[in-house]
C-alpha cells in the first residue's frame, strides 16, 4: 500500500496542524453530495464519522462538516430551484420557527450537560426519532400500496399517511397559499413544524434534513420533490449560521471545506438530477433505508462497537450512492435516447414531405 505514502496525495491543514489524504476528502464530499442532493439533507451523520476515520479530531470534523454542508446545500438548492423544487415562501416562513427551535434545543442540551446526562439521553432520543421516521416511511408506503389503485392515486402528495389533511383543516388566521407546493394552510402550521424540528435539531446537534424532510411531507403536505428542495434551502441557511459560530470558535479547516465542496459539486448534481428520474415513493423508500442504517450505527456506537458503526455507515453510504448514480445515469441515458429517436423521426417526416 505504498501508493498512499506518496507526498502529493497529502495536504497540510494549517489550523488542525496535520496532513490529510485529499482524495479521501474529495470522495467523502462526492458521496455526501450525491446522497444529500437526492434526499434533501446535509448529511452530518455521514461526514463526521468519515472525517474522523481519516484522522480529523472530532471538534474539527463537526465544524468542517457544517461549513461544507452550507456550501453543498447552496449548490443543490440552485439545481433544485431550476427544477422548481424549492418553495422559498415555505422555507422563509419556517425559518423563524427553525431558528427559535434550534436555540431552545441548545438550551435543553446545556441543562442536560449540567446534570451530566447529555451523551446517552441525546443518543437514545436520536435513536427513537430515527426509528419513528423509518417506521412512518415504510408504513406510509405499505398503506399507499394496499389502499389505492395506481389509476386513482393522487399524484401530488403523500397518500398513505395523510396527517397533513387534518392539519390543513385548522383554520387559524392568517391563512397562506403556497403556490409551489400547491397547498393552503395556516401560517402557524409551517412555523410550528419549523419550531418542533428546530428544537430536535438543536437538541440532537444535527443539520435537520433527516427530520425536516419527512415533516414537510407528512405534516405540511408538500410533494416529496418540493420537500427535498425546500429542506435543502433550510439546511443551507442553518449551515451558514453554524459555519459562522464554529469558525468563531476556531473549529473549521477551510482548506478541507474547499476540497470537499469540489467533490460535492459533482455529487450534488448527480443526486439532484436523479430526483427527476425517481418517483416520490422511490425517494422515500431509499430515505427510509438510509435512516435505518443511521439508527443501527448509533446503537452500535452506544454499546462501544465504534468500528462496526463506522463500517455500517460507510457501507450504507457506498451502496445508497451507487443506487442513486444508477438511477441518474439510466434515466439520463433513456431521456437522451428518446430525444435522439424523436429527432430522427422528425427528420424522416421532413424527408418524406420533401419527396
Amino acid at each position: 500500500m505504498d501508493i498512499f505514502s506518496a507526498d502529493w496525495l497529502y495536504m497540510y491543514m494549517p489550523i488542525a496542524g496535520m496532513k490529510v489524504l485529499w482524495p479521501a476528502l474529495l470522495l467523502i464530499g462526492f458521496a455526501v453530495g450525491v446522497i444529500g442532493g437526492f434526499f434533501g439533507m446535509g448529511g452530518a451523520w455521514m461526514v463526521t464519522p468519515g472525517l474522523n476515520i481519516i484522522g480529523f479530531p472530532m471538534a474539527f470534523a463537526i465544524g468542517t462538516d457544517i461549513a461544507h454542508i452550507a456550501g453543498k446545500s447552496m449548490i443543490s438548492t440552485i439545481r433544485h430551484s431550476k427544477f422548481g423544487n424549492v418553495d422559498y415562501r415555505m422555507g422563509l416562513v419556517m425559518l423563524g420557527g427553525t431558528v427559535a427551535g434550534i436555540e431552545a434545543g441548545a438550551q435543553a442540551i446545556m441543562y442536560l450537560e449540567q446534570v451530566g446526562l447529555v451523551g446517552s439521553v441525546v443518543r437514545w432520543a436520536y435513536v427513537v426519532f430515527l426509528a419513528l421516521i423509518s417506521w412512518l416511511v415504510f408504513y406510509d408506503y405499505a398503506k399507499a400500496e394496499g389502499g389505492t389503485r395506481p389509476d386513482e392515486f393522487d399524484r401530488q402528495a403523500a397518500e398513505g399517511v395523510t396527517w397533513y389533511r387534518a392539519l390543513h383543516r385548522i383554520n387559524i388566521p392568517p391563512m397562506l397559499h403556497f403556490p409551489v407546493s400547491g397547498i393552503t394552510c395556516s401560517l402557524w402550521l409551517p412555523v410550528l413544524v419549523g419550531l418542533v424540528t428546530g428544537v430536535l435539531v438543536g437538541f440532537l446537534g444535527i443539520g435537520g434534513g433527516l427530520l425536516r424532510m419527512p415533516a414537510l411531507v407528512y405534516l405540511v403536505g408538500c410533494p416529496t420533490h418540493i420537500a427535498v428542495g425546500t429542506d435543502l434551502f433550510e439546511v443551507m441557511i442553518s449551515g451558514l449560521y453554524g459555519a459562522f459560530t464554529f469558525a468563531l470558535k476556531g473549529r473549521i479547516e477551510l482548506v478541507s471545506v474547499f476540497v470537499m465542496l469540489t467533490g460535492a459539486a459533482i455529487g450534488a448534481q448527480i443526486g439532484t438530477v436523479a430526483t427527476k428520474y425517481s418517483r416520490g415513493y422511490g425517494i422515500r423508500i431509499a430515505f427510509g433505508v438510509a435512516v435505518l442504517c443511521c439508527m443501527v450505527s448509533i446503537i452500535l456506537k452506544e454499546f462501544g462497537h465504534e468500528i462496526s458503526a463506522a463500517v455500517i455507515i460507510l457501507s450504507a453510504i457506498s451502496l445508497i450512492c451507487l443506487y442513486i448514480m444508477k438511477v441518474m445515469f439510466v434515466g439520463a441515458a433513456q431521456e437522451l435516447r428518446e430525444k435522439r429517436q424523436s429527432r430522427a423521426q422528425a427528420r424522416l417526416q421532413n424527408f418524406r414531405r420533401m419527396r
Binding site: 489550523i15 447552496m74 459562522f244 477551510l254 465542496l261 459539486a265
Partner: protein
C-alpha cells in the same frame, strides 16, 4: 438567456439570505469565552494565501469567521453556476420533471 436570468435571480436570493444570516449571526453570537484555544502554526505554511488565513485565524477570529462564511458561500455559488453550465451542455432537460409521487 431567460434561463440565465432565472439562475441569476436564484443566486441573488441565495446570497441575500447568506448575508442576512451572517449579519444575524454576528449580532446573536456572544464573544468567544476563554476556552481552550488552538493556534495555527504558521512557521510550516508555505503558500502565501494559506499563511494569510492562518495569521488571520490567530489574530482576528471574527474576521476569520466572516471570511469562512463568505468564501464558502461564494465558492458554493461559483461551483453551482459552473456545474449548471456543464450540465446544460449534456442535452438533458433540466427545467422540468414529472410530478409523480409513485
Amino acid at each position: 438567456m431567460k434561463a440565465m436570468i432565472g439562475l441569476m435571480h436564484v443566486i441573488r436570493r441565495v446570497l441575500a439570505v447568506a448575508v442576512a444570516v451572517v449579519l444575524f449571526a454576528a449580532w446573536a453570537v456572544p464573544a468567544v469565552s476563554g476556552e481552550f484555544v488552538v493556534v495555527a502554526d504558521t512557521r510550516v505554511v508555505e503558500s502565501a494565501i494559506l499563511r494569510y488565513f492562518a495569521d488571520l485565524y490567530n489574530i482576528n477570529p471574527f474576521m476569520n469567521a466572516v471570511w469562512a462564511v463568505v468564501l464558502t458561500a461564494l465558492y458554493g455559488s461559483f461551483l453551482g453556476i459552473l456545474m449548471d453550465f456543464i450540465l446544460s451542455r449534456t442535452g438533458l432537460d433540466l427545467s422540468s420533471r414529472p410530478s409523480d409521487e409513485r
